[in-house]
């Protein structure tokens, strides 16, 4: 519901949330000022309506900004500040410090203004979420110009992603700081790639024997499937060509490779996505011990 500012003020007054002081403060000039502000923003501008209410009463709201609205907002603020006496700015800084939407203050007019702003906050916050603005709240003492806000948003995104990576890469928890973590990640990726290379070399050496063993491979896997399934499936598909595997993949057959430690973890049907972490941890441990020794033995 988009009420115009004055309508909202009137509504509040009816609800007796606004003291009659408010209008005194505004003065009759103030009301005109508000009207002018509204017309400046444009009444028919649907996009900005949500923000308009947010912003016009924004004198005591912390200095939030969004990227699209940057230009208008600055002018807004100037006007709204001009409307109010100096002591209102204290409320503003207070709000900035707390950074919360509901603040209890002793001063009546401040609380009333905040009451209004809370309402507008709650109303417009849903609109804001719909519209997908990058809404960054400025903290006290920090610059609110466009560039530093963009910079800060970007940095927050990066740190969020780094945290996700921290969960994936084992051993990242101990290291603090971006550089250390990045180092760990780089080393981990490199070691994984080297392992793949090494294993593929080994495979190429073993390749002539592969053909003989492929049938064995398939039979072993089918046996693993059979042990998991409650029903007795016939053993005839054992000699099925490897190319027919894709057909059965999507069925209920648990086509898992036999590997000493990992099968117990990986072939269980109760596996949830959280076990990615578990198995990667044990993989890392296994690989750490295995690969080091195997690297040395290979050379």
């Amino acid at each position: 519901m988009d009420l115009s500012v004055l309508e909202r003020v009137n509504w509040l007054q009816q609800q007796q949330m606004v003291s009659p002081d408010f209008f005194e403060i505004l003065g009759s000039d103030g009301r005109e000022e508000l009207k002018r502000v509204e017309s400046y923003l444009g009444n028919n501008n649907d996009e900005m309506q949500g923000f308009r209410h947010y912003e016009t009463i924004d004198g005591c709201i912390s200095r939030t900004s969004s990227f699209q609205m940057e230009q208008v907002k600055n002018n807004e603020e100037n006007r709204v500040i001009a409307l109010q006496p100096k002591r209102k700015t204290e409320g503003k800084t207070e709000k900035i410090e707390n950074k919360k939407k509901k603040i209890k203050t002793e001063d009546e007019t401040e609380s009333s203004m905040k009451g209004k702003s809370n309402m507008s906050n709650s109303e417009t916050s849903s609109e804001i979420q719909k519209r997908d603005y990058i809404h960054v709240r400025a903290r006290r003492g920090e610059a609110t110009d466009r560039h530093s806000l963009a910079e800060r948003a970007r940095r927050e995104k990066l740190s969020k992603k780094m945290k996700c990576l921290q969960d994936i890469v084992p051993g990242c928890n101990k290291v603090t700081g971006k550089a250390g973590m990045l180092d760990e990640i780089i080393n981990y990726v490199q070691s994984l790639q080297q392992q793949v290379e090494f294993l593929s070399m080994k495979l190429s050496v073993l390749n002539p024997e592969l053909e003989f063993h492929i049938n064995e491979l398939s039979t072993k896997q089918f046996q693993a499937c059979f042990t998991d399934l409650p029903e007795a499936v016939s053993k005839q598909p054992m000699m099925v060509d490897a190319s027919s595997f894709p057909l059965q993949q999507h069925g209920s057959l648990d086509y898992s490779l036999i590997n000493s430690n990992q099968t117990t973890i990986l072939s269980s049907k109760d596996q949830t996505s959280s076990s990615w972490e578990i198995h990667s941890q044990c993989l890392y441990n296994n690989l750490r011990t295995d690969s080091v020794s195997s690297f040395f033995s290979h050379k």
Partner: protein, 162 residues
């Protein structure tokens, strides 16, 4: 799950595909791509020299085919299918370089260091140099997971054949 078995003949896909954990899906796809490819390779080529590279090629191809929802895999696929001489995704010289550099930069510029490291990471990821940093970081997570699964699969294949 039993109903799935009974309906196996009628239905190719499981009733609740989400219940198959993604790691399983990846591994199935991977081995189903790799094993036949290796067999074919074995039958066709006889000279041992080409073998190593082509095996590597097949390994990478299997990786790219089994993880097609990621942008790095699309890049890898493109690279592999376009080039006749298969190139390796990793090189050991990278590792040496990293260690040297971290030794030099003791009290270097912090942001510069981070930037450089991010660039290194970009080089490791296939197609990473063409992405911006945020995208690259999320792709790296997927890439690491798939590499891990790939190593498990390869290990098991190697172990089974020895």
């Amino acid at each position: 799950m039993e109903r799935q078995i009974i309906n196996k003949k009628k239905r190719v896909f499981s009733v609740e595909p989400n219940k198959i954990p993604p790691s399983e899906v990846f591994r199935r796809k991977y081995t189903s791509h790799l094993v036949p490819a290796l067999k074919k390779l074995n039958m066709n080529k006889n000279s041992p020299q080409i073998n190593q590279l082509s095996v590597k090629h097949e390994v990478d191809m299997a990786l790219a085919l089994s993880a097609q929802e990621f942008s790095w895999s699309r890049f890898l696929l493109q690279k592999l299918s376009s080039s006749n001489n298969p190139t390796t995704t990793s090189s050991s010289s990278n590792g040496i370089r990293i260690q040297e550099r971290s030794g030099k930069e003791g009290g270097g510029d912090e942001d510069g260091e981070t930037e450089e490291k991010l660039r290194e990471l970009q080089k490791l990821l296939p197609g990473g140099e063409e992405m911006n940093v945020e995208e690259m970081l999320s792709e790296i997570g997927n890439y690491i997971k798939c590499l891990e699964l790939q190593t498990i699969a390869l290990k098991s294949i190697v172990q089974d054949t020895t």
